[in-house]
């Protein structure tokens, strides 16, 4: 029972065990860190195997298919079969590839996602307690960007390189609204430590900053490169993007990284905007907090899968316009309004503050909606239904443009 109230006693027990082996205290601490890091890293890695099954099944049901259902009950063992298959595939390395970089890219890709985990608070007193955690998340995210650039480069294939350029352009473009949206919870909690941010959420930040939450969520999906923002590796249209020359386990690592990143996005959304591990009884029983965090993260992850199953892809010019001309200015305005209003409402209680910010967010959204209507009117001629006819969307082919060469 003591364990349920304070899981850290396991750490103490292990430390005593290591000391009992005759290790020096500092060496015992180091060994503890290694054990902790292994536990924290293997957990998500094994969880990915389930995620792959879940996503395939969920998307299949959305699309009115059955999904994996042959291997094991409900096809649960399918991912294991896939792993076995991938493990025994031939590891092809293109003849002219840059060998070192070619090996490094998939490792970096997965490690970049795993490295997000030590910053995440998993419960009261357990998990990450990094003083600059929010920026740490952004910093680690750059590793994935580099992985893609290296992957595209090292294979010595022009299409892979082109795919990598486009993917990186997309990723860095969407990083701007993410960094802006992350500033809002930091501002509300006055701390970059995620543990403090969770502690500050007496009222979930999604109430005080719904627009920032939405921007973070959308931009994160794009950052991970999921549908509807996955046109650079659209499996059904082009063969693949930057990882075209990868096969076997290396290829699988890119995908494992993507799936884990999607789930981690859910975790981060839960921590930043949905109260993290907080919930009834989570203070007394930290493991319950872990369960709450997992539940919230899984719901958010399900929304990501749902979006994947429901939305068509966007075009690349729309994709980049969307972040630079919509999300970024919107995030800037939200940040400014939040900063001003938060100072004005400094004396008010947490609920009054949150509701004031909520109202402000609503007003911003109304203005944005009106503005979007205006833009829509300018772009599209109004569709008028003829009597006896259903309105049909008109397709006007784009004006032919002169081919451009450089």
């Amino acid at each position: 029972m003591a364990f349920l109230q304070d899981p850290t006693i396991v750490v103490e027990w292990l430390r005593q065990l290591f000391l009992g082996w005759g290790l020096s205290p500092s060496l015992a601490s180091l060994l503890l860190y290694v054990v902790g890091a292994l536990a924290l890293a293997t957990g998500p890695l094994l969880w990915v195997i389930f995620l792959i099954w879940f996503e395939r099944k969920a998307v299949a049901r959305i699309q009115d298919r059955l999904g994996p259902n042959r291997v094991g009950p409900y096809g649960l063992l399918q991912p294991f079969a896939d792993v076995l298959k991938l493990l025994t595939k031939e590891d092809i390395i293109p003849a002219k590839a840059d060998k070192v970089l070619y090996w490094m890219a998939p490792i970096l890709s997965l490690a970049g996602v795993l490295l997000l985990w030590p910053a995440i608070p998993l419960g009261k007193g357990i998990g990450g307690n990094v003083n600059v955690a929010v920026l740490y998340l952004v910093a680690v995210g750059t590793l994935s960007t580099f992985a893609i650039l290296i992957a595209g480069w090292s294979a010595n294939n022009k299409y892979a390189l082109l795919g990598a350029f486009r993917t990186v352009a997309q990723m860095i473009s969407y990083e701007v609204p993410i960094v802006l949206a992350l500033l809002v919870p930091v501002l509300l909690a006055r701390s970059m430590n995620l543990q403090d941010i969770v502690a500050a959420q007496d009222v979930w930040f999604v109430v005080a900053a719904p627009l920032a939450a939405l921007i973070f969520f959308i931009a994160s999906i794009a950052e991970v490169g999921r549908t509807p923002f996955d046109l650079l590796e659209a499996e059904s249209e082009i063969i693949a993007g930057f990882h075209i020359e990868y096969s076997g386990m290396k290829f699988a690592m890119f995908f494992a990284g993507e799936f884990l990143h999607a789930f981690t996005t859910g975790v981060l959304g839960a921590v930043l905007f949905f109260g993290g591990w907080r919930g009834p009884g989570a203070e007394a029983y930290p493991l319950l907090g872990l369960f709450y965090l997992w539940l919230k993260a899984f719901l958010l992850y399900f929304v990501i899968v749902w979006i994947r199953g429901s939305f068509p892809r966007v075009r690349i010019d729309h994709l980049l316009d969307f972040t630079w001309k919509f999300l970024t200015p919107l995030a800037l305005v939200v940040l400014m309004v939040t900063a001003l209003l938060d100072k004005a409402l400094a004396a008010a209680g947490p609920w009054a503050r949150a509701l004031g910010l909520l109202v402000a967010n609503g007003l911003i959204w109304l203005v944005v909606q009106r503005w979007l209507r205006g833009v829509e009117k300018r772009l599209e001629p109004p569709m008028v239904a003829q009597p006896g006819q259903y309105p049909v969307a008109r397709y006007t082919p784009p004006e032919p443009q002169a081919a451009e060469g450089d």
Partner: protein, 176 residues
């Protein structure tokens, strides 16, 4: 003890990577060397307990500056083409200058250890990031560098966009 070990390891890796960055003919490898050096600098910052600047170093240098550099290298050459020599004919003079400079610097800083009354023992305060933030907008502190930095970056953006990109129309005209 651990700190010393990590410091020596990081410094060694950093310097080797820096050498790769300036010696390799393959510029992509050189850029990777630069990235490792930048990362090593971030590790040194962690050892110096300025955590905010360590992550800022990774976000700005590795995440943005290095990406820009790698982009520029990859955009301006043929995939798989031979790199060729990347050094000047006058490289021995460069080596001499750099060597003399380094030796002079090293000789200069050799004895700089204010060991007896080290203020370092006071340690870094917990809220150093907040203090930095307050100092950056404090009228009696560093508000001028802060605002000048924003103007500088705005000017840099305008200048860079202006130089690199003539706008869609101009672009079409020049290329016919």
């Amino acid at each position: 003890m651990v700190t010393t070990f990590v410091f020596v390891l990081t410094a060694a890796v950093m310097l080797v990577a820096a050498l790769i960055a300036v010696l390799k003919d393959n510029l992509v490898h050189a850029a990777m060397g630069l990235v490792v050096t930048l990362f090593g600098t971030a590790v040194l910052f962690v050892l110096l307990e300025s955590y905010f600047l360590a992550v800022a170093q990774v976000v700005i240098y590795v995440g943005a500056i290095a990406i820009l550099i790698v982009f520029s290298i990859m955009l301006t050459r043929r995939v798989g083409a031979h790199w060729g020599r990347q050094t000047n004919a006058t490289w021995p003079w460069a080596l001499l200058t750099a060597g003399v400079l380094t030796v002079l610097f090293a000789l200069m800083v050799r004895g700089w250890d204010p060991d007896a009354v080290l203020p370092a023992a006071a340690g870094v305060p917990e809220d150093i990031t907040a203090r930095l933030g307050a100092a950056l907008v404090d009228p009696n502190g560093y508000v001028v560098p802060f605002e000048v930095a924003s103007v500088l970056l705005l000017a840099a953006l305008i200048g860079a966009v202006y130089v690199a990109w003539g706008g869609r129309k101009a672009e079409k005209e020049t290329q016919g």
